[in-house]
Symmetry: C2
Subunit: 203 residues, 2 copies
Amino acid sequence: MTEQKATNVFWHDGEVTREDRFGLLKQKGATLWFTGLSGSGKSTVAVELEKQLLMQGKLAYRLDGDNVRLGINKNLGFSADDRKENIRRVGEVSKLMADAGMIVLNSFISPYIADRDIVRELHAKGDLDFIEVFVDCSLNEAEKRDPKGLYKKARAGEIKNFTGIDDPYEAPANPEVHLHSDTMSLQEEVDILMAALAKRGII
Amino acid sequence: MTEQKATNVFWHDGEVTREDRFGLLKQKGATLWFTGLSGSGKSTVAVELEKQLLMQGKLAYRLDGDNVRLGINKNLGFSADDRKENIRRVGEVSKLMADAGMIVLNSFISPYIADRDIVRELHAKGDLDFIEVFVDCSLNEAEKRDPKGLYKKARAGEIKNFTGIDDPYEAPANPEVHLHSDTMSLQEEVDILMAALAKRGII
C-alpha cells in the first residue's frame, strides 16, 4: 500500500468523490464564462485572472477559440447549428473540468442567450458553479481597438455575419459579474472576479 | 495585488504555462488509456488507482462511458463513424485535461488499433504523455465474470456487434503497460501502474 501523504485527504470507502478532489486542491471547481463583443477584452482579463489565481496557488485553465476550434470542435464550422454545438461541447468539457476541480475560464463571444443558458443549465444539473461574466464594452470602443483587424474586414464586407456588425449580440440580462472593460482598469476587473470567487467559496 | 502563497510557483512575465500548473500540482499531466474486453476489469483498476493516487496527494480524473456518453458525446450512437468520433472527442478532452495538469484515467473498450492510435497521436503532437494500458483478460474469463450480463445477451443474439463475440477486439501490439487481470491481483496491477507513472516523472 502507498503512503498517505496528503494531510487534507481523508480515507473513506468507495470511489473518490468530487469533494475529495476539491479538498486536495483547496478550491472548488467552477466555470467562469466570459462573454462579450470581439475586442471587448475577454481574453485579456481571463489571462490576468489565471495568473493571479496561480500566484495564490489556485489551479485555473482557459478554454478559448485557439485550443477548442483546433481540437474537440475541429469538425465544426460557423453555421448556426455548428455554433450551437460548439458552445454545447465547450460547456460539457467545462463541466468535466470543473467536476475535476479546475477553475475553468472560458472566453467566447457566445452572442446568443439561449446557447449560454444551455451551459448554465448543464452546470446547474451537475450542481457546479457557473458564473457568467459580461465583459461589457461599447461597440464603438471595441471597433476602435480592433486588435485583430476583424471589424475593418466586416465593415468592408470581407467577413459576413460578424457579431455587432451584421449579426446581433444578445447581452446577458442578469450576469453574475458585469465588467465594464472600457472604463475599469484590468486590476479592478480582476479584483471584482476574485471577490466573486471568494464569496462563493471557490477560492 | 494578491499575495504570493504558493511557494513552488515562480513569477514570470507572460501567460501561465503548462509547467506552472504542473509545478503547482507537483505532478505532470498525462493520459492513461485502459483498453480491453468488456468485463476485463478496466474500470476496477482505474478506480483503485485513482484512490491510491489521491492518498498520495495526486489529482486524477476518470472518463468512462458513464460521464461521456451522457455528456460531450450524447449526440453520438454506435455506428462505426460515431464510435470513432466518440474516441476522438474523448482523446481531445483528455488532452486538454492532461495539459491542465490532471492524470486522466480513461476506461473504454476501444477495440480498434486505429482509433487508439488517433488519441496517441494527439498526445504526441501536444507533447503530453500517453500510456496505453492493455487490460488483458481471456474471453473465457471475461465471459464467466459477465458483470453486466452483456455476454449472455450477445450469445443469445439480443445484442449485435458485441466486442469479442461478433465484433473483433484488436489487442495492442506494443502497449506501455500490459496487465493480466485474470492472473494478477488488483494491488499488483496498481503497483505496476504506479511504477510506470513514477518512471515517467508523472508522480
